[in-house]
């Protein structure tokens, strides 16, 4: 690790974390006091290029916000491993894991040296308990995101494959 990133890492204070969080839709809806607390609970962590951040099939109750570097999302199937998409600076990954313990359906791997702020479900739950109104906002935001996602799937650019149409309906949950 070179000296410029070293400097960079130690300077990440919680104000940076707040700025980042405020830009994430899931957090932008909750009161600033709650965001402050969540921000100060975040832990800066570093991954070397090629290191796995989380592994498909594992239960991982953390969410990650990329401060620097790039990462790739991978899906392992019987045919092998395929890259789903890439993530970069400012991207927020795994917000749902903060709400419920879930198995990872994908793996995330650092493509370059990667610096993230990591949030744990434990701290997030304990924070939300103090801000009940925020929990309701988050719920609304998630519902909205699920709706947008499925709307995009049905009415977006690409055509749905024939087999996929039998599986849609997440918004009817």
């Amino acid at each position: 690790m070179n000296s410029s990133t070293e400097q960079n890492l130690t300077c990440i204070e919680y104000r940076t974390a707040i700025d980042l969080l405020m830009r994430i839709p899931l957090f932008s809806v909750i009161p600033i006091e709650a965001v402050k607390v969540v921000a100060c609970l975040g832990q800066t962590e570093n991954f070397a290029a090629g290191e796995v951040v989380f592994q498909q099939g594992e239960i991982d109750d953390h969410a990650y916000c990329i401060l620097e570097g790039e990462a790739e999302l991978l899906l392992r199937t019987e045919e092998g491993e395929q890259k789903i998409r890439g993530f970069g600076q400012g991207d927020f990954i795994g917000g749902l894991s903060l709400l419920s313990n879930m198995e990872r359906l994908f793996s995330l791997r650092a493509q370059t040296d990667l610096c993230c702020i990591v949030f744990s479900a434990d701290g997030f739950h304990k924070t939300l308990r103090q801000f009940p109104e925020a929990a309701a906002e988050i719920l609304r935001e998630i519902a909205l995101q699920v709706f947008r996602w499925e709307y995009g799937l049905l009415h977006g650019d690409g055509k749905l494959c024939a087999k996929c149409t039998t599986k849609v309906g997440a918004t009817l949950l």
């Binding site: 100060c40 609970l41 832990q43 304990k126």
Partner: protein, 838 residues
């Protein structure tokens, strides 16, 4: 059985030698009690009357001798009584405790811990006192009474009869009052029981009480029982007092008759003065033994009420013999055979319905099924925790219900989902099951315990090695222990810094006299040493007069107070609304338990000029500033200028200490062990930083560390120190996963032939779970019959057979592949769960 023994059994079986000795002393005491009275008479009638100085001195000497003897003997009697009583009490407690813990599990579903505690601790104590007094007090006092009575008859039969004429009335009336008192006492014991249960419940359910804020509800419930207790106790004590008062009254009637009749006789000259004095004196002396008899009577009543109540409560049969009768525990092959086993509770609810299952030695069976299907119940029947109500269940060819507990324990190990970890060290917990089988009774010492190598090997096997190693590394060594080990650590420091400084430099910060340490507290940065005097300990430093003067001298005090203010105000701004949970306080030196105090201080001092801050508050600000670790407590930043000032303060402090208090601080020195820091910091000669290595990196650091310690011949010793880590009550200082791993290791250490795992790995992550699977596969396959209640179906493929349970029955049994292709319930379970998230 202990609960069937009457209270008097304990008197009979008490220390008889001591009881005989006690009786002898009593006989002497009685003599010593009567002698002074006789002397009194002689002093008045012979010495004073005939003005004989020599006789006066002689009788007085005899008098004082008798009094001294009586006093000395009385003390000796008390000692002996206490000894006998406490011995009996200790035996009673031990035996009752053993009886209680062997009672079947069903018994404990109905009784609460509070009840057991109050019985063993409080209620039995009086029974012990009674046993101590049971022979000495009644015999001694009756003899004394008799001696005085004889003496009184000898002096004047008429007067004697008159003065004790009131006693029979007392003997008639007092038991009536005492019976009332006994009834109240019984009610009191029961009420104490209810009260203990209630307290016990409140403490166990404290989360629920806090969650519902039901303080008032609980207060009212408790208040009711306290009021009831008040009434009962009042009646009990009132009746006791009434019995005593009644006794005193009749006792005091005696002198009245004496004065009347004795006075009349003396006036008529038919009685000499000495006789009256001696008579009165004798009568007064009657009072003491009589009073003691009365107290003894009440003690007896109290003790027998309590004793009977306690014994009645625990009067249940233990489920099984502890040890087999007249033979060594069996050595089984490990076959389990169930034939039409059923378990019914409350006579009509069947938890198990006619289960038949044949498990060969060394076979591995998984029990799966929906919750409530009877999987755990079946394993508990096999391990004799529950008794089955019909059918036959055999280990090899032995019926489980006929085996002793030790037969089971020596051959079978069970790990439950929520294993209980006892207070004590990790080592003690690891050897718990092993000791149970190898220690015959409480008096013999454990045999050859598993060697450190065996234990360490087991730690590696279940994946606890790293945990124990880090417990060891985090241990503070006292100056007097492990001297040669300490020397070894000092020797490896340079090597460690070379070795790890290059590759893992960002995870360590080495001590350096010239550098500000970002990952040490401000206090440690100034001291750069460990305090030898409590005045300089981290907790007291802020209030130390020496340090205070030092800070003022170098004009650092105000800067630190300012820093403290920034820390408190800044942290409270973020955390003010949060509960005092440790999670929120990792990035601030504020202590969660003092949150409320900090909030008040913050409100008082925000925007106030430093000079106006109250000195008490200033101490608190200083305390926070001194505990601030800039690299870790990132909630508030550290002004750069302060770093330089603290570095120069470090120099000045060293000079000042050297000059004025050279023994108060041991300055860090790479060739000295630092006893105020854990072993790890001593090896590093520095601190770990807050940079969190992830996954692979962490593994690399760990592996290098283990390798380094191994090469330097330190590893084994540190792990052994780690094994002495005290786990806290119920293992509170361990994580759920660590507890489960310890539970598995402790059962495996006794090498059971049958291993039952009842969701034993539910708190473990995939990797740890796999590690346990691998361990069982590699070391125990074929040697040990394994019956697993599986909660995750992806773990059962490897098993020889899978038994699927539903509603208390085994509905499918076979290999994984066979059952999957059959497409029954297992298939449904596997495919059903896949579409849901865990």
């Amino acid at each position: 059985m202990i609960t069937r023994r009457p209270l008097l059994w304990w008197v009979k079986s008490s220390n008889l030698k001591l009881q005989v000795l006690l009786l002898l002393i009593i006989l002497i005491t009685v003599g010593a009690r009567v002698l002074p009275i006789a002397m009194q008479k002689k002093i008045v009638d012979e010495a004073i009357r005939f003005r004989r100085m020599d006789l006066l001195l002689l009788y007085c000497a005899a008098y004082i001798f008798a009094v001294l003897t009586a006093t000395g003997l009385k003390f000796l009697m008390n000692l002996l009584q206490t000894r006998i009583g406490q011995e009996a009490l200790a035996r009673m407690r031990k035996e009752l405790y053993l009886h209680i813990i062997t009672l079947p599990l069903e018994f404990f579903q109905k009784s609460s811990p509070g009840m057991v505690v109050s019985s063993l601790v409080t209620e039995l104590a009086t029974a012990g006192d009674f046993v101590g007094e049971a022979i000495a007090v009644p015999v001694g006092n009756l003899l004394t009474l008799l001696a005085f009575a004889v003496y009184m008859f000898y002096m004047n039969p008429l007067l004697a009869i008159l003065s004790i004429s009131t006693y029979p009335i007392a003997l008639l009336l007092i038991p009536i009052v005492q019976r009332k008192s006994n009834d109240a006492n019984k009610a009191r014991v029961d009420c104490t029981r209810t009260m203990s249960n209630m307290i016990d419940e409140a403490v166990s359910g404290i989360h629920e009480i806090h969650g519902n804020a039901s303080y008032r509800v609980e207060e009212r419930k408790f208040g009711e029982i306290v009021d009831q207790m008040f009434k009962i106790r009042f009646m009990w004590i009132a009746y006791r007092a009434a019995a005593k008062v009644l006794n005193n009254f009749f006792q005091n009637l005696g002198p009245f008759i004496l004065f009347l009749v004795g006075g009349y006789l003396a006036i008529n000259g038919r009685f000499d003065l000495g006789t009256i004095v001696a008579f009165l004196s004798a009568y007064e002396k009657l009072f003491d033994p009589w009073k003691e008899l009365m107290a003894f009577y009440q003690l007896y009543q109290d003790a027998s009420v309590r004793y009977t109540r306690v014994m009645e409560y625990f009067n249940a049969e233990p489920g099984y013999e502890i040890e087999p009768d007249g033979r060594a525990p069996l050595n089984l092959q490990g076959a389990v055979n169930a034939s039409r086993v059923s378990l019914a509770v409350d006579s009509d609810i069947e938890l198990l319905k006619s289960i038949s299952l044949d498990v060969k030695p060394g076979e591995r069976i998984a029990l799966v099924g929906y919750s409530g299907s009877g999987k755990s119940t079946l394993t508990r029947c096999i391990s004799q925790l529950y008794g089955y109500t019909s059918g036959s269940l055999k280990l090899d060819e032995h019926e489980v219900s006929q085996l002793s507990k030790m037969d089971i324990a020596a051959n079978l190990g069970i790990v439950s989902q929520n294993p209980f970890i006892f207070h004590g060290t990790i080592r003690e917990n690891l050897l718990y099951s092993w000791e149970a089988v190898h220690v015959k009774n409480s008096n013999t010492s454990p045999g050859e315990a598993p060697s450190p190598e065996v234990i360490i090997d087991m730690l590696r096997g279940v994946g606890l090695f790293q945990d124990i190693l880090s417990f060891g590394l985090n241990t503070l060594l006292r100056p007097e222990e492990e001297k040669s080990f300490v020397k070894k650590i000092i020797l490896v420091r340079h090597k460690f810094q070379e070795h790890f400084g290059d590759i893992f430099g960002r995870y360590f910060e080495f001590f350096d006299q010239k550098k500000f340490l970002k990952f040490s507290t401000i206090a440690a940065n100034i001291l750069m040493g460990s305090p030898n005097s409590p005045e300089f300990s981290p907790a007291k430093l802020a209030t130390s007069p020496f340090f205070d003067q030092f800070m003022s001298e170098i004009q650092l005090k105000n800067s630190l107070i300012e820093l403290g203010r920034n820390l408190i105000v800044g942290s409270i701004e973020i955390l003010g609304k949060m509960p005092p949970d440790e999670v929120f306080f990792r990035k601030t030196p504020l202590l969660p338990e003092r949150l409320e105090e900090y909030k008040k201080i913050s409100a008082r001092i925000v925007g106030m000029p430093l000079s106006a801050i109250d000195p008490e508050d200033a101490f608190k600000l200083l305390d926070v500033a001194l505990r601030y670790i800039p690299g870790k407590h990132k909630m508030v930043g550290m002004p750069l200028i302060l770093e330089r000032r603290i570095l120069s303060a470090r120099e000045s402090f060293r000079e000042k200490i050297m000059a004025e208090r050279p023994d108060a601080v041991s300055f860090y020195d790479i060739s000295e062990y630092i006893h105020s820091l854990p072993i790890l910091d001593n090896i590093i000669y520095g601190k770990t930083t807050a940079n969190q290595p992830r996954a692979q990196e962490r593994i690399r650091i760990r592996e290098s560390m283990v390798q380094f310690l191994e090469e330097e011949n330190l590893l084994k010793q540190i792990v052994e120190i780690g094994l002495h880590f005290v786990v806290g009550s119920k293992g509170e200082r361990l994580s759920g996963g660590q507890k489960q791993k310890i539970a598995i290791a402790r059962v495996l250490l006794k090498s059971p032939r049958i291993l039952i795992l009842d969701e034993a790995t539910s708190a473990l992550d995939n990797t740890s779970q796999q590690q346990i699977q691998d361990l069982l596969e590699s070391r125990w396959k074929g040697k040990c019959t394994i019956i697993t209640v599986a909660h995750r179906l992806d773990t059962v493929r490897e098993f020889d057979r899978i038994a699927v349970m539903r509603a208390g029955k085994i509905v499918e049994i076979g290999t994984y592949d066979a059952l999957m292709s059959y497409g029954g319930i297992l298939y449904e379970l596997v495919h059903g769960t896949k579409s849901y998230v865990h």
